[in-house]
Structure formats: structure tokens, C-alpha cells
Symmetry: C3
Subunit: 354 residues, 3 copies
Amino acid sequence: MKNGRKMPEYTLAEIAGKIGGEVHGDANIRIRGTAEIANAQKGELTFLANPKYRAQLKNTRASAVIIDAQTTQTPSLPHIKMPDAYFGFLQAFLLFNQPKQMLPAGIHPTAVIHGTAKIGSDVRIGAHVYLGRGVAIGDRSEIFPNCVILDDSSIGDDCRLYPLVSVREECQIGNRVIIHNGAVIGCDGFGFAPYQGKFHKIPQAGKVVIEDDVELGANVTIDLSTMGETRICQGVKLDNLVHIAHNVIVGKHTVMAAQTGVSGSTAIGENVMIGGQVGVVGHISIGDGARISAQAGVTKRIAPGKTVFGSPARPIFKARRIEATLNELPNMRKRLAILEQKLAKLEKENNRQS
Amino acid sequence: MKNGRKMPEYTLAEIAGKIGGEVHGDANIRIRGTAEIANAQKGELTFLANPKYRAQLKNTRASAVIIDAQTTQTPSLPHIKMPDAYFGFLQAFLLFNQPKQMLPAGIHPTAVIHGTAKIGSDVRIGAHVYLGRGVAIGDRSEIFPNCVILDDSSIGDDCRLYPLVSVREECQIGNRVIIHNGAVIGCDGFGFAPYQGKFHKIPQAGKVVIEDDVELGANVTIDLSTMGETRICQGVKLDNLVHIAHNVIVGKHTVMAAQTGVSGSTAIGENVMIGGQVGVVGHISIGDGARISAQAGVTKRIAPGKTVFGSPARPIFKARRIEATLNELPNMRKRLAILEQKLAKLEKENNRQS
Amino acid sequence: MKNGRKMPEYTLAEIAGKIGGEVHGDANIRIRGTAEIANAQKGELTFLANPKYRAQLKNTRASAVIIDAQTTQTPSLPHIKMPDAYFGFLQAFLLFNQPKQMLPAGIHPTAVIHGTAKIGSDVRIGAHVYLGRGVAIGDRSEIFPNCVILDDSSIGDDCRLYPLVSVREECQIGNRVIIHNGAVIGCDGFGFAPYQGKFHKIPQAGKVVIEDDVELGANVTIDLSTMGETRICQGVKLDNLVHIAHNVIVGKHTVMAAQTGVSGSTAIGENVMIGGQVGVVGHISIGDGARISAQAGVTKRIAPGKTVFGSPARPIFKARRIEATLNELPNMRKRLAILEQKLAKLEKENNRQS
């Protein structure tokens, strides 16, 4: 029991069946939970993915372990073999830690929903939510209290919008999208035309498209564009407080850590990994599979597969050499001064000799 | 038709009249929209501001073009001459893309409005809004759902507060101010007095003043001060996630890109341009017309009109030379070592000779 | 009178009694407010903590001054002696600037409160608040409009949650905690397992614990963890837009300026001072009393009491020397080239001579 919820219990065989693995040893032992190898207790299932933790397997109190199928050394403990032990463990973890269902079923009577909104089946809508004209919410999606979705925006199936998320008008959000508290989808892009000493607002009439399986962190902001769209492609994960400007495209399965910002009209490829507090200028492209270190300042195009570091960002190999040499810089200055003195002395001697 | 809204259509003469330009060629052709020169279709109006796109004018499918009045080469296409072609185009764009009116007229019955609040004419107030004691809202302003405005704060005429904006007590917001989702006006300044190993809160009893024509991005935070005020002057534009600390003054028509932060009591001049992710220390002044590159760390005063770069920020010319030389740094180290060897050899030879 | 509130007035003796100081001079003069030494007017109380402002004491229009008890020079003005003049002044300031009570007493009828929630005495709850199942609110706490607190979370006594704060499920918040507008407590940690080209969500089933006397700025985000907890210890102060990742511990009385981010599983000690826009990598420890300069990028452990600077962060003394030498770098390059030329000339001469 944890907070009044009954915790589930499974046999090792049941778990193997659910996660698609193969049991070795006593398949009937009862498993009550999952834990990391060092902390696991009797009755718990653990995993071994990294060989460097193999020694800990001897002393673990876990009752069973998930191991990689290709492992040659077999533990004495009952175990499940999986193609990827860590991924198998995550699935087992989910069996014991079902996502908490926090919203009561149905639509809270204080929610304000326009008569033209289309609400799917088994949708849960919390207190003080606002859904504008023509909004569509797909099946089984949950909209937590105090979210605001403006006219003609759509949310797909199986989405979860945590409290205080807001979506501007005409945005499209796919299926299985998770948006954390306070994130803003579709605020105006930052576009102004300087004219006679003032900045005149350039209207932002575009839209934001969020594809399937995206997760957006708390207080993220995603701008809409003057024309066209800002697009977050399938499987993208953005951490808290990330900023995506107008007309940016973030390619499939790209991830960005917290507080990173991408300027307008930049196209980021697929499977790119971007650290925290990175800044990327506008109107460039970042190739598929590129990696950008935390706090980098990206000022120009990055080719596919390349890793960059620093502000302004340089190829990682070059940047590392510069960083290492910087430690020597004050000393280099001294050595340079000594060389100058010695050379002057030599020159004087040579002049005297000649 | 777009989302059920009828799109407007004008003759070229009508457009020229509305934006104050001079028609050349067939003034009666009908224009259905605007587009950039490369994407424009038949029936659309485009513009040519940058001479480097002149060649594209031959192949554009646009039916008409706005050009700068001083241009000597006249296009064969029907055209409108304007003092500033781009600005003229923006005005034409607005004719076809009127700001969407998303809030129904009037005050939503779920809004909670204190009896002493003063609401102007034609104000639109959304669902679940809270307006505290003595709040004033000017004519034609729109307060979107779930905004919260605390006691004695005032909002001018023609303002738009998008969903989930909050304004603390006694703040003053001018006319034609746009505030995007989740922005916070008047949170406490970060002031603590260390005493006997703890931090004691310094009360923040000041206020925030936002002048006319300001635009604040999503999730921006603007602190109030212990005493006195934090002031965002006329025409300032702040991008998403910008942080302005207590007692800061941001001068007229200054712009800051996303995720920039300004520390307490700093005075920023007029027409300053600040890039994204910049940090500015407290208690300094930034002169009128200064420019600060993205990710710069400004640690001291900047004179008017100067441009700085880097962290810590240096004058741009100096910083660029350092950056360029850094690329040579590892090589310089090698050259230095070679010089030392050669010089030692020379010294040895000289000693032998003498 | 200010905004209709009557301002209090005290004799100097009354103030001394309330703040625990010793009056010298006329104890009966009436004090109407407090101000800094340069701005103080007749009837106001000021303070002198920093000896460099001593000269201003002659010309101040203040009617009385608080000075450090150990000061040998006594002013002619009526004065109060305190162990710490500045801290005494802050207490006096509070007498004249009581925290504004902005929420009406009681629970607003539009608040949605689950039947199982436990609400203490003298609690004030604003409009459109949502409190989920099993939520507990301690005595005298204030929950401003449109806050959302999900199931089984608890808030202690004397807390203040400003508008639009949200707290996820099962989080624990102590006593006297202040949370500013839009802050998010307990959003999911950023945890994904890469598997077959996609990122699979790692469930975040942990919790966030906020201890007593913490203050969190506007739009701060604090993640919860897969297992275990994220803990903000007693007396910590975080400025606006700070990001704290999953499983981080922030030790007692540590302060962080705006827009700083701390990655997962990092342990920060007590009394650490962290500037704005700092980034700290995951899985490291920062020792007690360490100091981190603004915009630093901390990539490895910091020992207790050490100060670091720069990105990547280096010990302050080393970093300052590198920074100073960087100014010479372009010149060093020139000097190196000159040395190479001179040396080549010398070598040639030597060869000729030998």
C-alpha cells in the first residue's frame, strides 16, 4: 500500500510474459517491485545492463534480475533474458508504477467548453478549463485544471496536458503528446519591422504543429510564425523552459535539455541531441544526428553527425584542444616574454661579435 | 475561405489608398492576398525591398509588387511605390490578415471581478479571470481566460493579455500593450539580507510600470522592487522567457531576444538591441543604441552606440580578434615550444663560440 | 495614506522596542517611514551600515538613524544602536510596510476543493483554485487565484502561493514557503530510454520536497524523479526561471539567481551562492559555501568554499588570469611571428659565421 493504492504483485513468469523475455530459474517466485541493483530488497526485481556492475550481482538482495540475452555469464539468481536488459527493466518498472490517474472521469462542471467543440470518448477535463470555438479533443485525452485551448486548435488521442498549459488558436497537436505545466504553444513569434524609430508588429498568422509522441517540459514556449508553421516532429522531447521560435522545424526524435533556445526559421534534423542552455541562431540547419554540448552558442550550420562545443560553437575536437591550451595561456605569455629577452640578448651579442 | 472566415479582396488602387502608396500600371486588378516574391501566386501582391532579389521579379507569379519609391528601375508588373516597400507590404499584409478576434464580446460569467473594479467600454474578459479590488481595465482591452490581476493594478486601452498572464498588485500597464501567455508582471524582486547564517526576506513594496506599445513574450518575468519602480518604457519588445529584475529601467524602443536576463537596478537606454540568452549584471548603465550579441555576459557599463560580444563581454572588434586568434592557440603553443628549442640551441652555439 | 491604507506612525522609542535596539537622543520624536540615507526626508528613519556613507550623515534630512552598536563615532542625530544596523533597518522597514494582504478571508466559492482535502484554520483560498484528493493546507496559508494542487500534496503553515502556481501529486511543501506566480513544482523529470531509434519515457514516480522557509521565483520549474525525491532544503532562495532537475538536492540556505539550471542527481551543499544563468551538469557535488559566478558552466565537482568562474568553470584565480591574458592574445600572436622571423635571421647569421 502506498497512499492507499494497492501495489500489484506478479510471478517472475508473469512478468517475463508481459515484457517479452525468457525466464531461467524459479519462474514462480513472487515479485513485489523493482529497484536498482544496489538498493534492491528481497521480493524485488533488478537488472544488469552495464558489465561494470556485474560484481554487485553477488551481493544484491534482489530476488531476480533481468540480463541481456547475449550475456555469456549466467547469474545464479532467477533471471529473465531480454534483448535489452535496461529496456526490459523499464517495462517491468511500469508494471509496478502505473501512471497515476489523477483526474476524475468525465468533464468537470466548472470547465467552460464552447458548444462547437468536439470531445472524444473517455476524455477527462479538469476544473476551470477553457476550450474555445471549434476545439477538438481526441479519445482518452486528459486536460488538467486551468488549461486554456483557444479556437480551432486540436489535440489528438491519448494526450495529457498538465495544469495551466495554454494553446493558442489553430494549433495542431498529435496523439500521445504530453505537455507539462505552464507550457505555451503558439504564442506570437518575435517579429517587428523597424520603421521611423519604432518597431511595428509583424502579424503572426501561422500555426504550430506538434506531431505524435512529443513531450514538452514545464514552461516551454513555442512560437507561431508570420506565415507557414512551426513544427515539432514525431517523438521529440523538450525539457523545461526551452524556447522554440517561429518557423523552426525540430526533426524526429530530437531531444533538447532545459533552457535551450532556438531562433527563428532554423531547421533541426532528426535524432539531434542538444544539451541545456544552448542557443542556436536563426536561419541555419543542424544535420541529422548532430550533438551540441550544453551552453554552446551555435552560429552556423552543423553537418550531420558532427559534435560541437563552446560559444561560439566549434567542432568538439578543435574546441577541446583550445580549452586545454587556455589553461597554459598565462604561462605562454610569460614564456613569450622570456624568449623575447633571450633573443634580444642574443641579437646584441651577435651584433657585438660582428 | 480559411476556417470559415471569408478572406477579403481588394483592387490594387484600394490597397494603394489604404497604405498610402502610388499605383503604376493597371490599378483595377484584384488582389486576394500577399506573399513573398518566391512563393507568390497569381492574384497576390508581393514586395521588393532588397535589390538582391530583383532578378526574382522576372519570374514571380505575383500580380503586383510594392517597390521603394526611389527605385530607378521600374518593373513591368503593376506596382505600388512607397517610401519603404517592406513597411508598405506589412500594412498590406495586415489588410488580408486582420488580427483574429478570439474572445467573444463581453464579460464571461465565470470571471470573478471585484465590485470596485472599473471596466472600460467594449472590454472582453474571458472565463475564469480574476480581477481584484480596485483594478482598472481600459476601453477595448481583452483579458483572455484564466488571467489574474491583483488589487489596484491598472491596464490601459486596447491591451491584450493572453491566457494565464498574471499581474501583481499596484502595477500600471499602459495602452496598446500585448502580454503573452504565462508572463508574470510584478513578482517580488530577489532581495534577501544575510544575517546570522540565514537569508531574511527584504520586503518588495514597489511597483512595475509598463508604458504604451510594449510587447512582452510568453513566460516573461518582471520583478517589482523594494522601493521605487521597475519600468519598461514605451515601445519596448521583450521575447519569451526574458527576466527583468527589480528597479531595472528598460528605455524606449529597446528590444531583447528570448531568455535574456537583466539584474537589479540596471538602467538600459533607448533603442538598445540585445540578443538572446544575454546576462547583464546589476547596477550598471547601457547607453542608447548599444548592441549586445547573443549569450554575452555584460559585466560593466556600455557606452552609447557600442557593440559588445562574449562572456565576459568585450567591444566587438576586440572580441572578434580574440575569437579568431583562439583558433590558432594550440598551434601557437607548438610554435612557442619550437622557438624555445631553437633559441636554446642558438644560445648553446653562441656559448661555445665565445 | 497610500491606496487608501492608513500608514502607521511610531515614536523612536517604540521602534527601538520592536526591533530590539537602544535609543540615544530624543526618544519621543515621531517617525513616519524609512528611507535610504540619501533620499530620507524629515520624519523618516535611515541607517548607516557601510562606513563609506558616513559623510552623508551630516547632510541627511532623516530625523533619526540606526547605527551599528560597535560604532565609535556617534551621530548628533537621534539614533538607535543595533548589533547589525542594516538588519535592524529591515525590521523597521517592515513596521511601515507590512506585507499587503491581498486575498479576502476565507475560501472563494469558485474554488474547487476535493471533499477529502484538509484545510487548516485561517486559510485564504482564491478564485478558481483547484485542490485535489487528499491535499492538505496548513494554518494561515494563502493560495492565490488559479493555483492548482494535485492529489495528496501538502502545503504547511503560513505559506503563500501566488497566482497560477501548480503543484503535482504527492509533493510536500513545508512551512513559511513563498512560491511566486507560474512556478511549477513536481513536473516530470526528463528521463527517456533510447531503444530502437526512439526515446521511451521513463516513468517519474518520485516526489518533490520543499522544506521550511524556502522562496521560489516566478516560473521556476522543479522536477520530480523516477524514484526517490528532489529536495529543496530549508531557507533556500531560488530566483525566477530557475530549473532544478530530478533527484537534485539543494542544501540549506543556498541561493541561485535567475535562469540558472541544475541537471539531474546533482547534490548542492549548504550556503552555496550561485549567480544567474549558471548551468550545472548532473551527478556531481558542489561543496558547502562554494560560489559560482554568473553564466558559469560547472562540469565537475566543486570543493567546499571554492569559487569558480567561466564556461567551462575554472577556479576563479585561474579563470581571471586566463581572461586577462586573452586581452593580450592577438598581440601575443604578432610577437610570436616577430620572434620567429628574428630567430630565423639569427640562425641564418650563425650558419654564415660557422
